[in-house]
Every structure is written in structure tokens, then in C-alpha cells.
């Protein structure tokens, strides 16, 4: 009764495909940076430095330690806020997924929080928690938590009913049902929610640093803008956008490679 393996993966060498992707990435980067350079040299605006000047400023603030120090300052409330959001978000989401009552009471609140511009509340945070670390952590949580909660909740709710039946018919206890079926099945979507939460958390921390008090990255942006040091300002902003993009795409790689065995070929 030997049966053949369904699909043994595509034979196309992974390395060529990877080199191809890398090549087009580089071309794409070169084109965009080239356009930036030309636009800066025309210049389209007195406040639009070419890429070369921006890059020089970037190297400058790295070498004198300003940028690394700023990142350390910024990442502290970001990481704290994300951990808090992840822990409570997944807890609330699982609770809402398992209990109809919790779903009824909490889901509308988080749906509103997800669709509404929570940024409007950030100025309020300052009144209660001052201008310190707590306020910034809270700003991150306000933006990151709703998407984490809602993804977790949807993930738990959409676990295949036949897997739940299977667990019950093989005499799984309710606890086993949660730990051995629901959580692993919901895992990938929960992780995707965490990734979206990280992206939202970045927005939260930037807003907090621009609106509450300029510290870290926000401080460099505000200060260099006020003294018209545009290359430094652009370098800082670009580094932040790239940093956030790289972080999110690393999480995405982790997701497809490790979190979903059914996706790895």
C-alpha cells in the first residue's frame, strides 16, 4: 500500500531565486536613492537635502554616538509597551475567544479602538502620567493592543470545529483542548497580530516622542528641524522607517519559516 509523496517541493534551486530577488531589490533601492539624490540636487525645496548629504549626516550621528543613544532611549518604552500589549492583548483575546460573555462585553470596545484614531487620546495621557516613561509606554499600548487583541480573538474563534470535535472525541479535557488544540491552531494568526502590533507600536512611540516630550529619536527630529539641520533630520527619520520596516519584515520571515509548519516547503 505504498503511496507516493504528494509534493516533494519544487526542484528550482533556491539560491538562484534568492539571488534574483536580491538583484531586483538592489536595482530598486538604487533607483529610489538615485531619484532622491537628483531631487535633492535640483533642489526641489530648500528643505530637501540630497541622499548623499543625508547619508553623510547619518554616518556623522552614528559616529558621534547620538543616534545609537537615541535609539536606546526610544526602544525602551517601545519594547516595554509592546511586551505589556502582547501579554495582556493575547490574554484578553483568548478570553474573548473562549467565553461568549467576554466576547459580548469586550469585542465592541476593541473594535472601536481598532477603527478609531486613538492618537487623539495621546495628549490626554500626559495629563495623568506626566511626561515620563509611563506615558510613553501607555501611548504604545493604546495603539498596539487593539490589533493584538482582535487578531488573537479571531484566531481562537476560527479554530476548525472539527479539530475541536476530534479533541473531544479522543477524550481531551477542556484544558487540553485549549493548550493542545486551540492555542497551537491560533498561533500563526496570533503571531501575525503581534507583528501588526509592533508596526502600530512604532507609530505610538513616534507620536509620543513628538507630542509628549521630545526624547530619543523624537528629540533629534525636533531639534535638528528647529536648527534647520535637514540632513540630520532626514537621516534620523529614514533610519527609523527602515528600522521599523526591517523589524516587521524579520517578524514576517520568522512567521513563515517557524510558526507555520504547513507553509514551510
Amino acid at each position: 500500500m505504498a503511496t507516493s509523496v504528494a509534493e516533494a517541493g519544487t526542484a528550482r534551486p533556491v539560491r538562484t531565486r534568492f539571488a534574483n530577488v536580491l538583484f531586483w531589490r538592489l536595482v530598486s533601492i538604487a533607483l529610489v536613492l538615485g531619484a532622491w539624490e537628483i531631487a535633492g540636487r535640483i533642489p526641489v525645496s530648500f528643505a530637501f537635502p540630497p541622499f548623499s548629504a543625508t547619508f553623510a549626516a547619518f554616518v556623522g550621528i552614528i559616529l558621534d554616538g547620538t543616534l545609537p543613544a537615541a535609539y536606546l532611549t526610544t526602544l525602551q518604552p517601545l519594547a516595554t509597551g509592546l511586551v505589556v500589549s502582547a501579554v495582556f492583548g493575547v490574554m484578553f483575546g483568548v478570553l474573548m475567544g473562549l467565553s461568549r460573555t467576554a466576547e459580548w462585553a469586550l469585542a465592541p470596545v476593541f473594535i472601536v479602538m481598532q477603527a478609531a484614531p486613538m492618537a487623539a487620546l495621546i495628549p490626554l495621557v500626559t495629563f495623568v502620567y506626566g511626561i515620563g516613561l509611563t506615558a510613553k509606554v501607555l501611548a504604545v499600548c493604546l495603539l498596539a493592543a487593539p490589533v493584538i487583541v482582535l487578531n488573537t480573538y479571531k484566531a481562537v474563534r476560527t479554530v476548525s470545529p472539527s479539530l475541536l470535535d476530534m479533541c473531544r472525541s479522543f477524550l481531551g479535557t477542556p484544558l487540553q483542548q485549549v493548550t493542545k488544540v486551540i492555542l497551537p491552531a491560533a498561533g500563526p494568526v496570533i503571531f501575525a497580530g503581534l507583528r501588526l502590533g509592533v508596526a502600530a507600536g512604532f507609530i505610538g512611540i513616534v507620536l509620543a516622542e513628538l507630542l509628549i516630550t521630545p526624547t530619543g529619536i523624537g528629540d533629534i527630529i525636533t531639534y535638528s528641524s528647529s536648527i534647520a539641520d535637514y540632513p540630520t533630520m532626514y537621516a534620523t527619520i529614514a533610519s527609523l522607517i527602515v528600522f521599523a520596516g526591517v523589524t516587521v519584515s524579520i517578524l514576517q520571515q520568522v512567521e513563515t519559516r517557524f510558526v507555520r509548519p504547513e507553509k514551510r516547503a
Partner: protein
């Protein structure tokens, strides 16, 4: 019609394991909401060590009946007895094989087959040794470390069957196990299933909508009517299986059974 219990005795037989009927269904009714009546007053008996198919037009409640026997959904009225005891939920003497396989996508074949044992708290080495045996029995030796997405539909269902065999239940409940599998694989699987059952001595309750499948596999065939499902007829085709699986399909008893079932079912098609 011998097996149909028109008026079942209210006095239950003493809980004994050598009663001729391992599973008895007594006056089961089930409705979904107020509108849909799935089953009405169904009484059936399933002899020990035999394969019984529940056959009927789609929507006749055959899967509902199977899930009630499994203890996965409660009946509105009536009782199910297994080994003389009333069913109140899933139990260790029954194992279910799912139409959509219900395999854990994040677990390999070995863990999937051992999953029922894992839920019972059996030690890892012990359950994996047992699972490995059943993986060999269903013909999947060498695929222990594969994941479900790497298997064909037929192979996935073999995993589902091995999982059900591994918990050593007396009764195996199969819910249209081959409906998501192509025709050739299905035939091969049917033959393998019969060979396996000859060794394993299980009682099987098998839901299908395929007349040929029912006639080919069954010791007993229960024909259900359209919704609300009631028992239309119970057939016992006396097919000689001693000449191997291929001979069965040419056996006059098999062909007569197919004809008879078709004649019965035709009247329910509008």
C-alpha cells in the same frame, strides 16, 4: 427488518460485554432549532465485530446520528447504549474518523497518530511505539516525520484511521471517510480497510452516501429516509468475502445489494 427494534424493551440488559449488539440506539430524535428535524424516532442495533453502514440521501441526518453515537452532540430524546451503558459523552470504547481528517497541521504523522494516547496521558515513548505500529498497519511506514500538508488526501485519512485504531477502541465511527478522496484511492482504501478489520476485530459504524461503497464494505446496511431521518430498511447482504477483495465486486450478492438499495433510494429522489 430483523434488527429493527419496533418497541424496544425499557428494561436494559445488564451491563455485559458479551451482548450480541455492542451499540444500541433507542428512539433517538434530534432537531436543530425549531425548523429542521434531523432524526425522528430512530432505533437501531449494531452487532459486535461487524461493519454497519448508515446510508441515505444527503441531509438525512446520518452524520448527526453518528455524532450522537459518538457523544459529540446530545440527542433531544432517546438513548444510545454502548456495551449496555448509556452514552453521555465521548468514551474510550469509541473512536471517530473524520470526514475532513481533522489532523493537527502543526504535528507530524507520528504525533497525530499518537494524539489520542497523548490526551490520555500515556508516556511519550510508549505512545510513539504504539503509534508507529499502527502507522505501519495502515501502510504509512516511512512517513512518520511528515506533516499533513505533505500528504495526499488518501494518506491523511490513513493517518486518521491509525489514530482511531491506536486508542484501541471497540467501536470505530467513520464519517464519510473517503468522500474527500479520489476514486482509485478510495477503492484501494476500501480493500485495505477490510483486510485491516479482518485482523483488528473492530465494530465499525460507517456513514456514506455511496451505494457501491456500502454494498462492498458492509455486513449490515441501514437505509435512512430523507429529513426527518427515519430507518427505512435494514439490509444484510450475504456476500462471500473469502475469495479476496476483487471477487466481491463480481459477486451476485453484491450486485443484488446494489440494485436493491438503488431501488429503495430512488423513491426518495424527487
Amino acid at each position: 427488518m430483523t434488527q429493527r427494534l419496533a418497541r424496544p424493551p425499557r428494561l436494559t440488559l445488564a451491563a455485559t460485554t458479551d451482548a450480541p449488539n455492542i451499540v444500541e440506539v433507542r428512539r433517538i430524535s434530534k432537531s436543530y432549532g425549531n425548523q429542521i428535524e434531523a432524526l425522528r424516532d430512530v432505533s437501531l442495533a449494531f452487532p459486535r465485530g461487524r461493519l454497519t453502514t448508515l446510508l441515505g440521501p444527503s441531509g438525512c441526518g446520518k452524520t448527526t446520528l453518528l455524532k450522537i453515537i459518538a457523544g459529540l452532540i446530545p440527542a433531544d430524546a432517546g438513548d444510545v447504549y454502548v456495551n449496555g451503558r448509556v452514552v453521555t459523552g465521548p468514551g474510550p470504547e469509541r473512536a471517530f474518523v473524520f470526514q475532513d481528517f481533522a489532523l493537527l497541521p502543526w504535528a507530524n504523522v507520528l504525533r497525530n497518530v499518537a494524539f489520542g494516547l497523548e490526551l490520555r496521558g500515556m508516556a511519550k515513548d510508549e505512545r510513539e511505539a504504539l503509534a508507529a505500529k499502527y502507522i505501519r498497519d495502515v501502510g504509512l511506514a516511512g512517513f512518520e516525520k511528515r506533516y499533513p500538508h505533505e500528504l495526499s488526501g488518501g494518506m491523511k485519512q490513513r493517518v486518521g484511521l491509525a489514530r482511531a485504531l491506536a486508542v484501541n477502541a471497540d467501536v470505530i465511527l467513520m464519517d464519510e471517510p473517503f468522500s474527500a478522496v479520489d476514486e482509485q484511492t478510495r477503492r484501494k482504501f476500501q480493500e485495505d480497510l477490510l483486510q485491516l478489520l479482518a485482523v483488528e476485530r473492530k465494530t465499525v459504524i460507517f456513514v456514506t452516501h455511496s451505494i457501491e461503497e456500502a454494498a462492498y464494505l458492509s455486513d449490515q446496511i441501514v437505509l435512512l429516509t430523507r429529513r426527518p431521518g427515519t430507518v427505512a430498511k435494514v439490509l444484510e447482504p450475504r456476500i462471500d468475502r473469502s475469495h479476496g477483495p476483487e471477487a466481491v465486486r463480481r459477486d451476485p450478492a453484491y450486485l443484488d445489494a446494489v440494485e436493491e438499495i438503488w431501488a429503495m433510494l430512488k423513491q426518495y429522489l424527487a
